[in-house]
């Protein structure tokens, strides 16, 4: 889709010829980190943090939640990096998996309490609009990007994950499948469905505006 793909999910060194052979893999850095190298931890953090943060931001629509989730992800590997098993996938996939778990926990905590007053119906309607996740970000909701963010935020969680990873993080199907711990075919079908739903939502938003302009 987009040009200039970033190898978000790969634990391999960059394909940049300038860096080829010089960059340690994620797994190398993790091993050094486990041996006590702070430098390795910092490099790993700086390499993986932006993508994790943006994933959490796009999934939650909240900068505060994205920061918390990013912190939890890296705290997890500081606490017990040995939980990562290279035989089961890439380190990037492992980190995304932790981020997804924390996002789910957050979402469950947010919806543990149900309002009992007359606003309950409104609350339920809002949750329904959000899909299986957080509300879209409130900032810049008036412009095109804001509308797009809001529309993405209303997608069901599984579809949104596929769209965020493949279309916003520009991962390949294989990388997204590793991050989401599901088959490539599942990622592909979820992405197609997400895009179809997104087009539908954006069309619905434009239609009333056009009608209003026509009147």
């Amino acid at each position: 889709m987009a040009s200039g793909k970033v190898n978000e999910g790969r634990g391999k060194p960059s394909n940049d010829p300038m860096n080829r052979g010089a960059e340690p893999t994620d797994e190398d850095l993790l091993a050094q980190m486990m041996a006590g190298s702070e430098e390795a931890f910092v490099r790993l953090y700086q390499r993986r943090q932006p993508a994790i943060y943006r994933f959490a931001l796009h999934m939650s629509g909240s900068a505060a939640v994205a920061e918390d989730v990013t912190q939890e992800v890296f705290m997890a590997i500081i606490r017990d990096a040995s939980r990562f098993d290279p035989a089961r996938g890439t380190l990037a996939g492992f980190l995304y998996g932790i981020a997804r778990n924390h996002l789910r926990k957050r979402w469950e905590q947010e919806h543990r309490f149900v309002a009992l007053d007359e606003d309950a119906d409104e609350e339920r309607a809002l949750v329904s609009m959000r899909g299986n996740g957080f509300a879209p970000p409130v900032e810049n909701q008036g412009d095109d990007l804001g509308r797009l963010r809001r529309a993405i935020g209303t997608l069901p969680e599984n579809y949104r994950e596929a769209l965020v990873l493949c279309d916003l993080q520009e991962m390949s199907y294989e990388e997204a499948a590793s991050a989401l711990a599901c088959p490539v075919g599942t990622v592909r079908s979820r992405l197609h469905r997400a895009r179809a739903l997104l087009l539908e939502k954006l069309s619905d938003e434009r239609r009333p505006r056009r009608a209003a302009v026509g009147e």
Binding site: M1, A2, S3, K5, M33, G36, E38, F41, V42, Y45, Q46, Q49, P50, Y53, R54, L57, H58, A66, E67, T70, Q71, F74, M75, I78, R79, D144, L145, L148, R149, C166, D167, L168, Q169, E170, S172, Y173, R188, L191, H192, R195, L198, L199, L202, S203
Partner: protein, 261 residues
């Protein structure tokens, strides 16, 4: 290509490496023929364009720099904690190993010196102090010449040591000398007998087993009196039962100590 197949490929048409060139050409060819699919392609390309804008807009977003500082602090704390834990485990292992070595050494030492604690017995005053050396005990003439102790006691020690020199595996009865001292079978042959003493003890008959004496010596209950040659480190080297114990006479001891009692 039909419309269903077109929709199946639509999302991947602009995704590098997913569709072959031929399929992409078929998708575009179908869009030129089908108005609905052409509109769908246009909308899909518009969505791609907007998603790219959003990705570019958010591409520079990252967590606040304070988060990195916080995590580095946590990393350092955990690393220090692990090192402390490792040092503690190392020290613990060393301590346990030292205690084990000490315990094993003590046990081996006890085993070599008569199997641990002496049987419960009442120890009388030392009958005599002898100062034979092992070499003196083995070389009879020099032993007699160097012993400053009463002759009878020296003879007893000499006899006991001679019998003991027969080896720890020798029969207890064989090791009994003419004065009735029986070398204890498991004493260390190389143990020095400097400042050895003959002491009279009273102990339960059952306790004689710990000296390796024959079973018949233990028949009957009560206590028995005996003379022990005890080396300077407290290890019994030889024993002699009081032959008159049952009658209450102690002439054997009197003879043994040459009137010291």
């Amino acid at each position: 290509m039909d419309c269903d197949r077109f929709r199946e490929y639509l999302a991947d048409v602009d995704r590098p490496g997913v569709l072959t060139r031929e399929i992409c050409e078929q998708v575009f060819a179908h869009a030129e023929e089908c108005g609905d699919c052409a509109e769908m392609l246009t909308r899909s390309e518009a969505l791609d364009s907007e998603l790219r804008r959003l990705a570019a807009n958010d591409g520079q977003l990252q967590a606040p720099s304070q988060l990195e500082s916080r995590l580095i602090a946590v990393f350092r704390e955990r690393r220090a904690s692990r090192r402390r834990g490792a040092a503690w485990r190392y020290a613990s292992a060393i301590s346990i190993a030292a205690v084990l070595v000490l315990a094993i050494g003590l046990r081996m030492s006890r085993s070599r010196t008569g199997g641990g604690a002496l049987p419960e017995m009442t120890i009388g005053k030392p009958l005599v102090t002898v100062k034979p050396t092992m070499q003196a005990a083995k070389g009879l003439s020099s032993a007699h010449a160097t012993r400053p102790t009463p002759r009878s006691s020296a003879r007893q020690v000499e006899a006991a040591e001679n019998s003991r020199a027969a080896g720890p595996s020798s029969n207890v009865v064989d090791a009994e000398n003419e004065n009735g001292f029986i070398a204890l079978s498991d004493v260390d042959e190389a143990a020095p007998l400097d400042d050895a003493a003959v002491v009279q003890v009273e102990m339960p008959r059952a306790a004689l087993a710990s000296f390796g004496l024959p079973l018949e010596a233990m028949e009957g209950g009560g206590t028995v009196r005996a003379d022990l040659i005890v080396s300077a480190d407290g290890t019994p080297q030889a024993i002699r039962l009081d032959s008159q114990d049952e009658t209450g006479a102690v002439e054997h001891n009197s003879e043994a100590v040459g009137g010291n009692r």
